[in-house]
Subunit: 364 residues, 4 copies
Amino acid sequence: MNNEELIFSRKDQHLIFAVKEKVESTATTMLEDVKFVHQTILDYDFSEVDVSTQFFGHKVNAPLVISGMTGGTPLSGKINSMLAELAEEFHIPIGVGSQRAGLKDPSAADTFRVVKEKAPDVPRIANIGASQVSMGLSVGDAEKLIEMIDADVLAVHLNPLQEVLQPEGEPVFRSFLAGLEKLVSSVSVPVILKQTGEGFARESARKLVGIGIKGIDVGGTGGTSFAVIEGLRARLMGLDVLEEIARDFADWGVPTAASILEVRSVFPDILLVATGGVRNGVEVAKVIRLGADFAGMALPVVRSVYHGGVPGGRRFLDKTLKELRIAVYLVGGKDLKDLKKAPIIVTGKLKDWIIQRELIIRSE
Amino acid sequence: MNNEELIFSRKDQHLIFAVKEKVESTATTMLEDVKFVHQTILDYDFSEVDVSTQFFGHKVNAPLVISGMTGGTPLSGKINSMLAELAEEFHIPIGVGSQRAGLKDPSAADTFRVVKEKAPDVPRIANIGASQVSMGLSVGDAEKLIEMIDADVLAVHLNPLQEVLQPEGEPVFRSFLAGLEKLVSSVSVPVILKQTGEGFARESARKLVGIGIKGIDVGGTGGTSFAVIEGLRARLMGLDVLEEIARDFADWGVPTAASILEVRSVFPDILLVATGGVRNGVEVAKVIRLGADFAGMALPVVRSVYHGGVPGGRRFLDKTLKELRIAVYLVGGKDLKDLKKAPIIVTGKLKDWIIQRELIIRSE
Amino acid sequence: MNNEELIFSRKDQHLIFAVKEKVESTATTMLEDVKFVHQTILDYDFSEVDVSTQFFGHKVNAPLVISGMTGGTPLSGKINSMLAELAEEFHIPIGVGSQRAGLKDPSAADTFRVVKEKAPDVPRIANIGASQVSMGLSVGDAEKLIEMIDADVLAVHLNPLQEVLQPEGEPVFRSFLAGLEKLVSSVSVPVILKQTGEGFARESARKLVGIGIKGIDVGGTGGTSFAVIEGLRARLMGLDVLEEIARDFADWGVPTAASILEVRSVFPDILLVATGGVRNGVEVAKVIRLGADFAGMALPVVRSVYHGGVPGGRRFLDKTLKELRIAVYLVGGKDLKDLKKAPIIVTGKLKDWIIQRELIIRSE
Amino acid sequence: MNNEELIFSRKDQHLIFAVKEKVESTATTMLEDVKFVHQTILDYDFSEVDVSTQFFGHKVNAPLVISGMTGGTPLSGKINSMLAELAEEFHIPIGVGSQRAGLKDPSAADTFRVVKEKAPDVPRIANIGASQVSMGLSVGDAEKLIEMIDADVLAVHLNPLQEVLQPEGEPVFRSFLAGLEKLVSSVSVPVILKQTGEGFARESARKLVGIGIKGIDVGGTGGTSFAVIEGLRARLMGLDVLEEIARDFADWGVPTAASILEVRSVFPDILLVATGGVRNGVEVAKVIRLGADFAGMALPVVRSVYHGGVPGGRRFLDKTLKELRIAVYLVGGKDLKDLKKAPIIVTGKLKDWIIQRELIIRSE
Ligand SMILES: Cc1cc2nc3c(=O)[nH]c(=O)nc-3n(C[C@H](O)[C@H](O)[C@H](O)COP(=O)(O)O)c2cc1C
Ligand SMILES: Cc1cc2nc3c(=O)[nH]c(=O)nc-3n(C[C@H](O)[C@H](O)[C@H](O)COP(=O)(O)O)c2cc1C
Ligand SMILES: Cc1cc2nc3c(=O)[nH]c(=O)nc-3n(C[C@H](O)[C@H](O)[C@H](O)COP(=O)(O)O)c2cc1C
Ligand SMILES: Cc1cc2nc3c(=O)[nH]c(=O)nc-3n(C[C@H](O)[C@H](O)[C@H](O)COP(=O)(O)O)c2cc1C
């Protein structure tokens, strides 16, 4: 099996594990430590609630991104097609998984391309790994990725934990910031950075000041954990030391709730997506309240389409967005601006985190 | 099945679910975070303890309201009859469920009327939904409701969560405050507002300042949850998306303990009833200590009469009121005034809530 | 069955329940919130540790009282005999249960008298209920109680919760303080007050200032609960309302740890015994550290002799006192004076209690 | 069975219990209350991470000590041989168990000697108990211990709890400080003190100021508990009182995390080893972050070689050190100096401990 084949099969393994196994972090998002204060005197109708917003200049129907997950194999092509159909139908942004494989192999590229075909009218987010950027991704290749899905944004995903855990991983980031700066200044679309399940801390955010990135997806701890997924893969391969290491890192990282506040303390105005363990519309409302512009969801969406096809995904998104609208209504708001200033109570470990890191929850 | 039939059968469904299923919120009242400080040096006798008080000018034997629940169907008529018999016997106030059905249908009206027949000497609380007020309840109709049970008070119940969850719900409150103001100024009895399980926050209370309402029942989270009940109904109807949404809101709202303090911070002197998850006489004492004038109970009372008839209800109320008297005695008090200044300790999430919302527990 | 018989059989019921059923409070002593700081550099030998102390002028071997429990029936006479044998052997103070029955009935009196026969050389504590004092216990009768066991101290037990819960209870304390004052000034031995499982609060302690009592046994919550015991009796008698009331008060009271601090804030120098849920020698050390002069134990001692006779009791006391000496040694102390200033950490609900009640832990 | 035989068989009992039974404290290390803040922007490669450091002037590959455990019996000799092989291979320091038996018996001495044969190039730590020092260990004997393994350091282990619990224990420390002072000033190698599972408090550390010791191994609570082990032995011997006493002390002591801070508050610059419940490389990183220079591990290492031989031990150490390197990398560091200033969050009981003991976590 050569390296290309490895990438393909790895992608399918990730997908299959994600939809069939317990792959979530043993730590929580800390969103359970956030409680809204219910309002009962509402002098407007539920039908007036509007959760539409802007994503890099595009109007979308809800502050929800279908986070980048897959592509590169026939199975993942089918998944991408269904996810794209849903993004179009709900008029929300959609990302794809790492397009590295698509650069070299035309049939792999098709499994990404389907996204622009099925979701032509919504923002699309291209995706490449930080390792590639560190190792000198060329502007030409970057543009190929963008063109592949006619992307509005390019996401560079950061996954240092996964890189150190994967047997075939490449934890080589020496030239990352330089590469990123070059990429940002030369590609035709805005670039965002995106963690994939260990979150973003203030110190890391600070290193990005001045580089010109246009957004951050905190990809916080509490949802899908690539430590857990790589642990499952390691077990399959008989690499049991690796499996155990992975287990010891299954709670590693900055929980999604904390991560939003960490990033906001450095970038008060950047587009902030909060992916990582967001599981329903009340939690979408919570991440927005804490300071995110968008919630992102990966695992629950891919599970819904894997098991239920487009109807399953529609059912899930319907539910999620209805919940978001209910939450906005019941905190006494009509739109996301109102939501962002709704009173909340913060308890438990998130309270500790906020105090010790001297963070602030804004009420705009 | 037309709309009237729906209301009837819905009422019976609510009742049956309430007495037979787990219908309580997944969140608590936070009353468990309140602890009384036992006093052992008592220089008076237990028989001197007197928990009688006033409800809108009527002397009653205890600070306990049988909260409004039902009416409109033959079954609920029987329940109302038994509850009324108990209210009369214990000389405490009693409410009825939403009388909407009784406005149009004389046989439905009878199921409410029984309350004035069986409980002629205690305060009776009429009941109508905020949606009706929003949609322009006429003064004539309001007076019909009042007359139906010869009510001393009219309660307008607020249930925005239930309205958004019910397939047939009417979450239309645009004209609510205007309608309420009109109602208050024109009906012949005092008007109180009443949440039904998600509680009242300070912000909502503030919207009521100046309108002339005479009381608030906080109807806080921790007891009967209409999210849970509507989830059960949704399952019966095969509306599984709705069922899941309901589940995600099963912990929604302001817990009863917190809600008392929230409302008191706006209305220091209004008649305040604390319904929602109050389950025994110690908890009755706790809500009074926190600032309520009355505790309200719905679920445990209806369960006791449903399963045990009037004797079952008598047994439950006997127990509850004996517990209240014991609690008053063992905090070193003789009456409710003493209870309201008994020392307490507050821990856990209620402490967080109080601190973060800058609330105060009075010791009058 | 007349009243006297009732008292006898009740005494045996209490005893049997205590040794055979779960009779402890559903709340804890909060001693689990106290942690000693281990010292490892010890420049003296374990054999130098000495936990002897004074009890009203008598030297005793350890700061441990066998708390008053029983008497009045043949069974309880046997128990008293064994407990007294142990008190003598370990040279520690011993109390008896309420001697009310012994006042009228000579055979009952013998079951108390055995204590002075078997434990002639240690302090003995006579016992009578606050109700008797309230109802005018004569000085003559008081002296009879004292003479019955040749007591060094007379304990008046306070159990208002039990009195309100017992079907035959007498919660009549109107004249208690007056009666107590008279008793204190006229009897030949020091008088101490003693709760029996709901603890003592500052407010109650304050009412005793100036009356001349010489000691307080806090009898705090967390150990034997007479709410629980009376609940078991109520079940036997088919009084199920009472059973349920008892259950709702099974966590009532001031936990032993808190109660020590409450009393100490009023009486810095009175003899303070801490009974209630103390279960091993580490906990004996903890109550001493918090400010008690003596720990008291009832349940575990009676269980050990009931199931194992004098040898069983010896085994238990051996273990307990060895643990106490180990604890003194490992906090770097040689005696109780050292123990009273050993560093500790206080967490959890006890910390909340201390802060909210503005209490202080002394380090003498 | 004479006294020497007892020591031997006791040593094997400890070993067998340790590898086969649950022997850990019922309290935790409190390391679970420490959380690292993940960094995702890393501008260097994983391969650049270097965790090497110095141990008394010797360069070693990692801040990890194989803690002293055993020796004196054939079985323990085999274990020592394997542990030494691993120490040599991983180039990390290694200790042996108490060498008391080796002083008198040449065949016992051989079971220690193997360590210098198999681990000639790494720091070796000789070991003797505080009781021996108290009872006047001669300089000659001390030098014999040192020579036996050609030790670079001599550890004096403190285990007062074990000494009081062992039937054959010698809790006689009256002359300890004097003996220690003599030892320190006369032996040819640096002396360190080492608790064995109950930790070190500030007060104890203070007693060591000026004596000239060169290091402390906090040996904190949360890992192997000699209370638990002696309880198991007591059960075997039918000493059930002792077994119960042991159980009541199974949570005794200063947790490892707290103990580091306690010692550091007195000795800011001494070599500090943190043994006691450290179980993986993330926890190694945590103790270093809190202020230790080295982590120590006993139980998990002996288990790995007992069950898996040298390969099993290699596997465990490989995993542990890889985890440590990953942790260093993912907090944004390249070496231990960076690790020592990585941001952390502290919650739970450790937070309470730090506040109440006025401790400080340094960020050098
Ligand atoms: C099967 C799967 C594959 C993924 N692949 C990628 C990827 O290629 N690139 C990327 O940026 N994130 C990838 N992610 C991470 C997600 O975008 C997201 O950050 C993470 O799953 C946390 O969100 P969740 O808890 O909602 O799943 C993947 C997630 C899943 C579940
Ligand atoms: C079966 C049932 C029907 C109810 N119907 C009404 C109603 O029609 N109007 C109303 O104001 N509240 C209604 N309630 C709400 C109660 O008055 C009360 O606010 C709520 O149940 C919380 O109290 P609990 O926890 O003691 O049940 C109903 C409650 C139950 C259990
Ligand atoms: C069986 C039994 C009978 C008791 N009877 C009396 C009594 O007559 N008078 C009294 O002052 N306390 C009595 N007590 C209370 C004890 O003295 C003590 O305060 C209480 O049991 C709490 O301590 P413990 O948790 O160690 O049992 C009794 C306790 C028990 C278990
Ligand atoms: C089987 C065994 C024997 C031990 N013997 C000794 C000893 O002789 N001398 C000593 O200083 N520590 C001894 N220890 C204590 C360890 O060095 C260490 O302090 C303790 O086990 C806590 O670390 P752990 O939780 O990683 O096991 C022993 C530990 C074990 C498990």
